[in-house]
Point group: C2
Chain length 789, copies 2
């Protein structure tokens, strides 16, 4: 690799000045609460009493930022950067302050001495800003506290942004994680025609918290082979002497961007449809570069000891204080800032203008770019329902037609994607393939179906990559849906935690504009994994998300096709939420017409008068409540049995679509008041609640209600195997017969013959068990059951 031919010594010095300024500001943030420009000798009281921050990665991030500035300005690039080592917050904040985007966003932190003092003091300080690249950080779409997601986020940002260059700094620690390792293969999904480019910068600073990193200790040919195996053409930049590294880094950036331009040009002018090897940079510089070489006799620069705060006892040890001052002065702040704290012109020579600045790009504040999604009128897709339970449809298949139309209507805009781990068709959404194929840049075969170099359906067998792609896509102002098997969405539990935390914070930042919600469609759910067995049966994702910020989280359990359409319309239009929609793909009775579905979904929970025997003039004897498609079916079957066997009983059927309705209104924006809840569920009548997931979740939501002592919940009790669909509900005591028995066990003063009815139910369960072991299918009376009024 040759030095960039057009890099003059002045330019080189200017790049170095910018880098030194950023390093100075990073150290200042970690340590100082006074004397920001070292106008006087450093004294203990200038240093924060608690030192919290990560120095080790910061000089590397500063180097990348400096050189991104250069190439963005030199070529007028539209660029975004994802900072994988997000704990290097001091670096990204330093750069934002230098380029002025920080002051634009937070006018009280000016680009002067007072502003610098505030910048320093607020960092990792109570009431100040977090130590990581947080939502509060201008230009960021990626927190980086939990490692592994930077590269998938970068690809998500690049999809359908053909003019965008997304640089992604990947720490060599992060590179050991599974999600990061999987996302390298995103190279097979990036369309050089309609997508932008991702430029990975693998930063090998050699150490994690306490260990060397795996990739930094590979012989270079082995690492080179690995990266070529991922589909990249690596450019290596190695060194610890700043000026040669600057030259090499500038040359590497030029090489990489030239190569990206060539790939995109060749694809866009149609001269090739071959997948190219995309460039990437391997940057090998010391951890904690330019920091203290030794502290207390132990090596620090270039080792794991530089990870956080190299000098830990500055207030108490004069030696440490002296070392800190020497370290700070080694950057020559007087050359970098004028007496008023303004960065000098040389420092800012490489910095681009306006929205080209990495801290000011609207792509990192996606709500600025977001357009409303054209969701078509549901009337075209709704199934006709003249009376409840007379017809069957596969809810997700019908939803597929709606999504096909959304996909078609965004063909020009390209701002809607569906992601999933190889399950779009399995989840019966395949109608979308009529409007868009599946993105695929690798080799194809004649037998393939629906693969499309320009497709907007993304399928890879990695829930992590799917989630990361979608998060990156949404955070940069687009729309999408993640369709997933219910059990395996737990794979992204920790990722969704972080996204919810991100949204919770951004909702409190006025400058952050709302983005499209992250919508999950969880299908192939617990009750219909009878064929795959126990490993595929898990409804706990609902519990997981309901632990998180109520202002962000919504859970919907539409009981039939039209309610699914109504919920889908709502979530696709919504902003700043994580919406979890659980809906089956198997044939399901149509209970509600579109109008009724809309009204029911708007209420979120309500009586189904037609299903009960409650005449509305007095409180019923019992409430049969349900949430979820299979529980709803069982409750309606139980209601039918009760009407048949105990017609004098007044039964109210309540269906819950929006699970948070059960919470008190003080605890969730969708929560019901006690008056509403009591009117629906009564305060003293038995409530038999058939729920889709773990039964105790319903208790957790409703424990404050007056009628809670009378609430009896049936749900999934973590019992399953390969069996029949009805056996799944019998085994977990969620079946119609058990629900009738529950009613008989709990309603006082029933007729004497209730005992005989109970025995009839018990007999039906016994008959079921014998039948399935003999025939392997469900009893005809169950399999062919249909609702009759």
């Amino acid at each position: 690799m040759s030095p960039a031919p057009d890099l003059t010594d002045d330019e080189l010095q200017a790049l170095d000045a910018h880098w030194r300024a950023a390093n100075y500001l990073a150290v200042g943030q970690i340590y100082l609460m006074g004397n920001p420009l070292l106008a006087e000798p450093l004294r203990p009281e200038h240093v924060k009493p608690r030192l919290l921050g990560h120095w080790g990665t910061s000089p590397g991030l500063n180097l990348v930022h400096t050189h991104l500035n250069r190439i963005i300005k030199g070529r007028d690039l539209d660029a975004l950067c994802v900072w994988g080592p997000g704990h290097g917050g001091p670096a990204v904040l330093a750069n934002s302050w230098l380029e002025g985007s920080y002051t634009d966003t937070y006018p009280d932190i000016g680009r002067d001495t007072a502003g610098m003092a505030r910048l320093f003091r607020q960092f990792s300080f109570p009431g100040g800003v977090p130590s990581h690249v947080a939502p509060e950080t201008p230009g960021s779409i990626h927190e980086g506290g939990e490692l592994g997601y930077s590269l998938a986020h970068a690809y998500g940002a690049a999809f359908d942004n053909p003019d965008l260059l997304v640089t992604c700094v990947i720490g060599d620690g992060e590179a050991e994680t599974g999600p990061l390792a999987a996302s390298w293969h995103s190279t097979k999904f990036l369309d050089p025609v309609h997508d932008g480019a991702v430029l990975p910068v693998l930063h090998l600073n050699g150490y994690k918290i306490a260990n060397p990193t795996v990739l930094s200790r590979l012989p270079e040919p082995e690492l080179d082979a690995l990266l070529r195996g991922y589909g990249h053409e690596p450019v290596f930049v190695t060194g610890d002497d700043p000026l040669p590294v600057h030259r090499a880094m500038a040359a590497a950036m030029d090489t990489a961007v030239d190569r990206i331009t060539a790939i995109q040009r060749a694809a866009r002018d149609g001269s090739t449809a071959e997948r190219a090897a995309w460039p990437m940079i391997v940057l090998r510089t010391p951890k904690g570069w330019t920091g203290p070489a030794e502290v207390d006799g132990l090596p620090v620069e270039g080792t794991w000891r530089a990870h956080q705060v190299p000098l830990a006892a500055v207030r108490d040890h004069p030696d440490h204080l002296r070392q800190l001052e020497e370290w700070l002065r080694s950057y020559h702040p007087e050359e970098l800032f004028d007496a008023d704290g303004h960065p000098r012109p040389q420092v800012l020579a490489c910095v681009p203008e306006g929205r080209r600045r990495l801290g000011a790009t609207p792509h990192a504040n996606g709500g600025l770019l977001l357009r409303g999604l054209p969701v078509p009128a549901l009337e075209r897709f709704a199934v006709p329902v003249d009376k409840p339970g007379a017809t069957l449809h596969e809810p997700t298949r019908v939803l597929g037609h709606l999504l096909q139309k959304v996909m078609a209507d965004t063909a020009g805009r390209r701002d809607f994607r569906i992601v999933g781990p190889d399950e779009t068709a399995s989840n019966r959404l395949q109608a979308v393939f009529e409007a868009s194929g599946k993105a695929w840049q690798a080799a194809t075969a004649d037998t393939d179906e629906h693969l499309d170099r320009h497709g907007r359906v993304l399928e890879i067998l990695s829930e992590h990559t799917c989630q990361g792609w979608l998060e990156g896509y949404l955070l940069t102002g687009r729309h999408g849906l993640f369709s997933c098997y219910e059990a395996f969405v737990h794979i992204v539990d920790s990722m969704v935690n972080q996204h919810i935390k991100w949204l919770r914070v951004t909702r409190r930042l006025p400058w952050r504009r709302p983005i499209a919600s992250l919508n999950y469609l969880l299908t192939s759910h617990v009750w219909r994994q009878d064929h795959n067995g126990f490993s595929h049966q898990d409804p706990g994702f609902i519990d997981h998300v309901l632990n998180k910020s109520p202002e962000v989280v919504r859970v919907y359990l539409p009981p039939d096709t039209n309610t699914l359409l109504s919920v889908a319309e709502h979530v696709l239009h919504s902003r700043d939420y994580v919406n979890v929609v659980v809906a089956g793909k198997q044939p399901c009775f149509d209970w509600l017409s579109l109008d009724a579905a809309r009204a029911h979904c708007a209420r979120g929970a309500g009586m189904w008068e037609w299903a009960g025997t409650d005449d509305g003039t007095r409180e019923p004897d019992v409430v049969l409540a349900c949430a979820g498609d299979v529980p709803t079916q069982e409750v309606l079957a139980a209601a039918g049995l009760l009407r048949q066997y105990l017609p004098e009983l007044s039964v109210r059927v309540v269906n819950v679509v929006d699970l948070a309705r059960l919470l008190p209104k003080e605890e969730h924006p969708h929560g019901m008041s006690d008056a509403e809840y009591d009117a629906l569920f009564t305060t003293d009548k038995p409530v038999i609640f058939a729920y889709h997931g773990y039964p105790w979740l319903i208790h957790r939501l409703a424990y404050r209600r007056a009628g809670h002592a009378h609430l009896h919940v049936r749900g999934y009790k973590e019992i399953g195997t390969t069996t029949t669909p009805f056996d799944m509900v019998v085994t977990n005591d969620l079946d119609r017969y058990r629900l009738v028995m529950d009613v008989i066990d709990r309603v006082p003063g029933l007729a004497v013959r209730a005992a005989a009815v109970r025995q009839t139910m018990e007999d039906a369960r016994t008959r079921h068990r014998a039948w399935i072991r003999e025939c392997g299918t469900d009893l005809p009376e169950v399999a062919d059951w249909c609702w009759t009024e």
Copy 2:
């Protein structure tokens, strides 16, 4: 690659016969419930009414099994196989039946016609066996329903098993997942001296459920580079003509095992300490190989359509029935089985004997090999506690000394490992490095510390790999501990789901012997992530595991050092559990002497008489309950404030170590009876419960108790940022002042001055907020607080 020189035509034919027999048995399991040997023409009633199973991967698994048989028998190898494509249950069951290990395990399934009929019928049939390689499957340590963990499991099995060959079949679908992608780098952690070998077989059958796979569509040089980058020397076996593939596969197996032997010999005789490139096999054969080429005019063999059941409507379509019969007869069952259904001698020629059979290896039933762990007497490590709250210790640091001793005492046996994502020292367990370094086979530098080619501490920055390694290690009969940041253990939510499911099933199988529990030490927990901020604050893993089978799950929250030691002793001795231990690493008051700690942990929850003002003669006015180290500290501080300000109040302090004690005894083996619960918590007095995690979990556990209406829980409300430790509890209303206010708000009939006390508390909170914003540290009165009686 040349054909194996010693493979005669007879041997070749025998291998093919074994493979055909296994294929026949796989198809038979998916389809047949009668006529197993096709003694008569196939009729619809011979076919199961519901067809559930995965054909696509089965012929490939059968091929690998056949060739493993050959090489195990030929070289008398001690071998285990991890079947990544676990949905290919029919293949593994077929092989187990052929080799006789199935009949050994389940004598009612004989190796004859009647046994074959039962084998077929039971598959994916109600009351039968699951469709995947499940715990019920002899020779299995890996379910494979959730993809991604096979290779980490294989390495876990190989660690400290120097004579074991662990083959791992990795599907090309699974290879796209993050956990699998990360675990390739296990090559840098496998010690050729003390560990066995892992032989990955990457099976490229080209398709997932509905898509081509990424790796199968890479140009071979690119794939080769990738695998070399992972540290492997790949041997490619490609074809769709059985006999040449058999020759190539036999040669590849010979090459691989020769190479493994050479690597191990060189390392063990000390002739090299260099990391070698381990061999692996890339097997490229058609999906659904030997199945129907076309069905209903569409290609099936070699496409994704072969994934599950290639002929779906056999009972209803005579054409499908005919195709199925032709398919079955294409294997020439009459050549493979005699008239009584016994496999013919040629079929069994390659099958090894006794415990060498893959379905009979004790390594797959690790409890057979498990030895009790030498946990030393706690007295040597316990901290002296003359009176409560007079001294401080870092609980995990003290635990580190205990673990050091365990590590030292297993130096010869090598059956104990500690895994963690680069956090062993951060979690203050570094004393263990005195007994064992960290496993590391890559390059080293002078500045490294505690790296050791033969170390038994495993650190890689992948929670997935850590978890997979440990699971594989435990399942093969050894012991271990996973030390992890509390927030990021969510990364393995889905993995622990599967492990808990596995344990739940194995506990019901008499032939499966109990294995050591999977022990988590969650430290660097929510309350002490004030420096890393919101992304690092999450106590929800407890909620996650408590949704799972109560017979498997245990959660402990030791409040101080000696209770942590007592809990650690208990969990290290336990079997077949998943134990979650949450304990801080920061200085923590010592409350209990070792004797008191043991007594308290044995009870799991109990009164701390010395901390309250409850004289035991009557019910107290209020119960202050706590679970977790920080909540315990705040409750004791609150108790102190109450004694100071409202000395007439009778306060009972209750500490809960074992969280499941709160559950009813009907719901968890550790649950308290109502009588016990009521005696501890009262039925009608206010209970202010300070809990480590999300407060509603306590309600979920205790909602059935008589006193539940009086239970008021404080905990983490998903509010956090970078701030001070005490501010974390104030922000979440878990602080001592708020707890005192809670008492005042809830105890009826307090003295008039209680209102003034309440205001004093409110003032303290206000003073705190002002102070931290000014000084950045906690108020001295909080930071220096200590317990006084």
